[in-house]
Structures are given as structure tokens and as C-alpha cells.
Symmetry: C2
């Protein structure tokens, strides 16, 4: 008997996420632009190579003028775990965006609301080229319905082989965010909390992790301490387990190094009480601002050199490598025809690759790299 279908792939932006703008995605190139039946794309192709037919299996999202009170069905109970999880992630989105705008001191998020004909929708917010932020994206989505068997196979791989044919019911909701500051001493933050579910079941996964270009030990300790405090309120084994899980997940295999200095990460937790998991999810999401914003306040205006900026850009290159090559949410989204701009909003505005760059032993750049190669205990 196969497990109930869930979508738990994402550590970055969720597959079924956002369709920002209410205007057409792209100027029409030809009368054939709506020639794709399942997922009409924003432009047509005169020829689709037979060897590379896209797996566009997720139905197209529809822009909406207004945020609905809930993305769940009208007859849903507001006391269900799903409803309370949606309320929590939407409050977290508001709180994080308000804190990010306050830290910037001028720039504001652009919001796009969208719905899916099959069920659910989402709210995408992106702030680009602010005073403090190079690119900051905070997305929530609550999607459900049935997915075509092709999408189920893409999500589950070989494990889907024995699943009965036909459409597969799914439910997935979550909040996803990547925040890239401009100043090379101000670290990038990523967090994602999600609850893929199935009838009468509930899962929970996610994490928060820090990616600096330079180490300020007090910053990293502060960040990890807040994660540990959140975990310790629920289970003393959580922080050590989820800290290691994070170091393992954000591993750039071909470099033998991690993307950054970690935090916490976990997937498909379901061997705990639902109410406890919902409380833990809420605690984690509420910890984002106190764990991160004080660091930004301290570092956002520090003076820096061109060399320090170039090093940040090299580390941003590693961010791109991890996300495009390994991140499950990104690679799954690219394969299944998710909305590309939402999936790739996690990429930095700019990145750099120098041939055979080696930081000088003992330098600040070397120390960061060493900590990415040899994960440390920070608290």
C-alpha cells in the first residue's frame, strides 16, 4: 500500500507557488502562445525538441486582485490544524516583511496574490534593490487538489512506481523566504516552514539557516542560540538533531563544503502530537525575526572594500550552485513546471565565479570557508 501523497520536497520556494503580476507574464510573441493545453506558458515555442519535452504538469495559477481571508475551501473549519497553520504562516509573512521593510528604512515589498483553479493559492512578496536588501522574497502558499500521476512520479521518483494509476490527491502549505542583504558583513537568511498533509494526517518540515560571507562569532552564536531556545522548549534532542540535519542538507557535494553556517533543518516530522508540532512550527517561525534582524542592524552599515564585496559575490555563486544543483524544492520545481520566477527568486541578484580562487590561509575569507567545510558547534 503506497503512502498517501504529500508534497514535502521543498526547502526553498514551494513548487506550487506564486504567480505574481496581474498583467500577462510576457508580451505575446505569436498567435500560438496559448498552444499548451495543460499549462499555457507565457510564450510559445515554434518547436519543442523531442528529447526535452517539458514536464509541465501543474495547472496555471490565476492572478487575484485581493488577498482572501483563507485559501482553504469555504466549508473548512477554522479550528482545524490546516486552518491554524495557514493563519500562522500568513501572520509570519506579515511580521517578517514588516521587520525587513523597517530594517531597510525605505523600500517596500511588491505583493502578488494568486489562486489555483484546482484549489488554494498564495501570496508572493519581493523587495528588490533596497538600501539594505539586494533581494528579499517571502512567499506563502496553500495548495491542494489532485495532481497528475506525472507530477507524483516527479515528486516521488522510483518510490512512486507501485502507486495505483490515476490522479493523486495532495495538500501542501508553507512559508518560504530568502533574504539577501547588500553589505558583505550582513548574512543571507533562508527559512521555510511547510506542512504537506494527507487526509487525517499531518506532517511538518522546514528550517532556518544563516549564510554569511564573513564570520562574526557573536552573530553566529546569537543565531544558533535562538534556534536552540526554540527547539529546547519542545524537546532537548531537537536542536542537536536538527542542527546536524541542516549541516547535512545544505552540503555542496562537488565542493566538499556547506552553503553556509547552518541552523536547523528537518523534514516530514510526524511522529509527534499534531498540536505539539503546530506549536513548534509557530515557535520556529516566530524566532526568525529575533534570530536575524539584530544581526542585520549591527552589520548593515559597516564600511567594506571591493575585495570584501567580491568575496561575498563568490559565496553567492556557491548559493546558486547549491540551489540549482541540490536543493530539492528548486530542482523539483524546475522539473515539474512550477512558476519559474517564484522558484528562482531565491537566487541572489548577482553572483561571481573566479577560476581557482583560494583565500589566503588565516584570512577572514579562509575562516569562513573553513567553517563551511568543517561545521562547528556554535552553542
Amino acid at each position: 500500500m503506497p503512502p498517501p501523497a504529500t508534497l514535502s520536497a521543498s526547502s526553498s520556494f514551494t513548487l506550487l507557488s506564486p504567480s505574481p503580476s496581474p498583467k500577462p507574464k510576457f508580451p505575446p510573441f505569436s498567435p500560438k502562445r496559448h498552444s499548451f493545453a495543460i499549462n499555457p506558458r507565457h510564450h510559445s515555442l515554434h518547436s519543442v525538441p523531442s528529447s526535452t519535452v517539458r514536464c509541465t504538469v501543474i495547472e496555471k495559477e490565476t492572478p487575484e486582485a485581493q488577498r482572501p481571508d483563507t485559501f482553504l475551501r469555504a466549508n473548512s473549519s477554522s479550528s482545524s490544524v490546516r486552518a491554524r497553520f495557514e493563519k500562522m504562516i500568513r501572520e509570519a509573512q506579515d511580521t517578517v516583511c514588516a521587520a525587513i521593510e523597517a530594517a531597510d528604512g525605505g523600500a517596500t515589498f511588491k505583493e502578488d496574490v494568486w489562486s489555483r483553479p484546482g484549489g488554494g493559492g498564495g501570496i508572493s512578496r519581493v523587495l528588490q534593490d533596497g538600501a539594505v536588501w539586494e533581494k528579499a522574497g517571502v512567499n506563502v502558499s496553500v495548495v491542494y487538489g489532485v495532481m497528475p500521476p506525472e507530477a507524483y512520479r516527479a515528486a516521488k521518483g522510483a518510490a512512486a512506481a507501485d502507486h495505483k494509476p490515476g490522479p493523486v490527491p495532495f495538500f501542501a502549505s508553507g512559508i518560504s523566504s530568502v533574504l539577501h542583504p547588500k553589505n558583505p558583513f550582513a548574512p543571507t537568511l533562508h527559512f521555510n516552514y511547510r506542512s504537506p498533509g494527507a487526509p487525517r494526517q499531518w506532517w511538518f518540515g522546514g528550517g532556518t539557516d544563516l549564510t554569511p560571507a564573513y564570520i562574526f562569532e557573536e552573530d553566529v552564536k546569537h543565531f544558533h542560540s535562538v534556534q536552540k531556545s526554540a527547539c529546547d522548549k519542545f524537546d532537548p534532542t531537537f536542536y542537536p538533531r536538527f542542527k546536524k540535519w541542516c549541516d547535512d542538507y545544505f552540503y555542496i557535494k562537488h565542493r566538499d563544503e556547506r552553503r553556509g553556517l547552518g541552523g536547523i533543518f528537518f523534514d516530514d516530522l510526524n511522529d509527534y502530537d499534531q498540536e505539539m508540532l503546530l506549536s513548534f512550527a509557530t515557535e520556529c517561525a516566530n524566532s526568525v525575526v529575533p534570530a536575524y534582524v539584530p544581526i542585520i542592524e549591527k552589520r548593515k552599515d559597516l564600511p567594506f572594500t571591493d575585495q570584501q564585496k567580491a568575496w561575498q559575490q563568490l559565496r553567492r555563486g556557491r548559493y546558486v550552485e547549491f540551489n540549482l544543483v541540490y536543493d530539492r524544492g528548486t530542482t523539483f520545481g524546475l522539473k515539474t513546471g512550477g512558476r519559474i520566477e517564484s522558484i528562482l527568486v531565491s537566487l541572489p541578484l548577482t553572483a561571481r565565479w573566479e577560476y581557482d580562487h583560494k583565500p589566503e590561509e588565516g584570512s577572514e575569507e579562509w575562516k569562513l570557508l573553513d567553517a563551511c567545510i568543517n561545521p562547528k558547534e556554535w552553542v
Copy 2:
């Protein structure tokens, strides 16, 4: 009976390529740095996540002080197809590097020679941050021996399942190059000619393709005309077949667009006379400079705006997406533990991702994108 083992994955930099510098790759971090038995890496890991153990199956290369006359075994005949192919790619490397340096007018290539204990070696040349070139890499390699079954499986995937256990003999040689100019009106060029082989057999694959950020129709026509002339000397069906193959190969699925404006691409040609294929390979390699350098000469000093530079950087972002997500040589190299700096020298020095960027309909940027979405016939 399985086919003889060949390595034909690469369209970019070859897996078994270069080990540039004669000094250690990275300052030692700890006494454990040589703790990997198969492939001692340039640094140690305190912990390797069990879920992400690297597939480091290719033995480590050794830096060499001097270029050998040949990378083939001492007893090889200089009249063999392999020997003449090596001579051809090494001459092509010299010719292309000389032309690139002349166009730059100052910067020179840094050369790294390396050998593999198991057989063969290569010559890597990289020019970075010149007057005209942002990053230019031209690599040749001639490698052979036996590969561990893990590497064979990584190369062949499911097709390797029925192969008899134990080490698999292989031979692969080729020239690979990516040339990224600074000026947004000067296009990027990629070419790769390779001959994976097996005992008593010979294959040939490769191609040359152009990736501009702006279309100068005369440039694209000139480039494609030179490719067509080279093809037409051998078979009038080559250009149309290989032009379409190129459009199909350099397809960024998740964008529904091609990386650039194509050229020619083909893989595993072996249904022709060996001498004919060697002549065709030679003709293709000799066509690189006349197809490309005249375009650079015309465009390298054109004035440009910040907006035009930013558009070039966005297109460089697409280059990164293609190479990291789809390019067979790159993805195979990353999986099998090839030398990362050589594999990723194909990435641009800098790249850019803007959220939901849409060129204005009818603009020069829009025209380029249109041609990447709807491949055109240029000659």
C-alpha cells in the same frame, strides 16, 4: 552484450580534465586533509553526511612542469587516429589562445599541465579579467585507463545496469572552451570537440555555438555561415541536422528558451569513415577563429550603458542555469568528482537574476529573447 565503455557526456568541459596549479590546491586546514583514499581532496571534512557521500571515483591528477609531446602511451603510433586527433586539438588550442590573446591586446593565458597516474593528462589555459575578456578557458585533455564501475554507472545511468562487474576500460580526448567577453555587444562562444573511443572503434562529437546578449544580424549570419561552410564540405545534410541538434541541446527547459543563438552540435558520430570524421573534426576546430574573432573585433570597443551591461548579466544568469542544470558534461563532472575548477571555468565571472524581469516588447532585449524562444534560420 553491453557496448564498449566510452565517455561522451561532455559538451562543456570534460570530466577528466585539468588539475591546474603545481602548488597545493588549498592551504591545509587540518592534519586529516589526506584522509580520502580514492581521491584525496584539497581539504578535509570533519563529517561527511551519510545521505550525501560523494561519488569521488576519478583518481587525482598530478601537476606537471612541462607539456609532453603526447599524452598517449610511449609505444603509440603517431599515425593512429587517436594520435592525429591529439595533435589536432593541441594545435587548435594554440591557435585559439593566440587569437584570443591578440584580440585582448595585453592579457595572457595562465597554463596548467597535468597528468593522470592511470593514463593521459591535459593542458588547461585560463585568461581572466583582460581588457576584452572577462573569462576565457581553453582546455585539452587525453585520458584513458580503466574506470571504477561506480563511474561507469554515473556515466551511463540505467543503461549500465547489465554491464559485467569490475573496472571498465575507457578513452576520451577533446578540446573544450568557453569565451566570455566583457562588452555586452560581444557574444560568448562555446566549442567542444571530443573523441571518446574504445578499442578498434572511434566516435566523434562536439559543436560550436554563439551566445550573444544582443543580436547583430550580420554577426549571427556570419557565424552560422562559417559553420555551414565547414559542414557542407563533408555532407550537405550536416548543417541542417546539426543546427537543429544544437537548438535542441542548449534548451533551458524550465524557461522554454535556448541559452543562445545556436550553431552546430552533434554527438557520437560513428557511422562515417574514420578519416572523414577526423577531417571534419579538424575543419570544425579550424573554423572557430574565423567564425568568431571577426565579430569580437567589431564589437569589443562599442560604447554601452549600465542597462545594457545588466541585460548581458541576466543572460549570463541563463548561461549558469543551463550549465548547472542541464549540461551533460557539467552535471556528469559534478557527480563523479571531476576537478571542480576545471568543470566550472565555463561559468561566467559574474551573473545576475532579477525577479520577474520582462523586456519591453519590440526592444533589442526582447528581440534576443524572442530568438532564444523561437530559433531562427540564419543562413
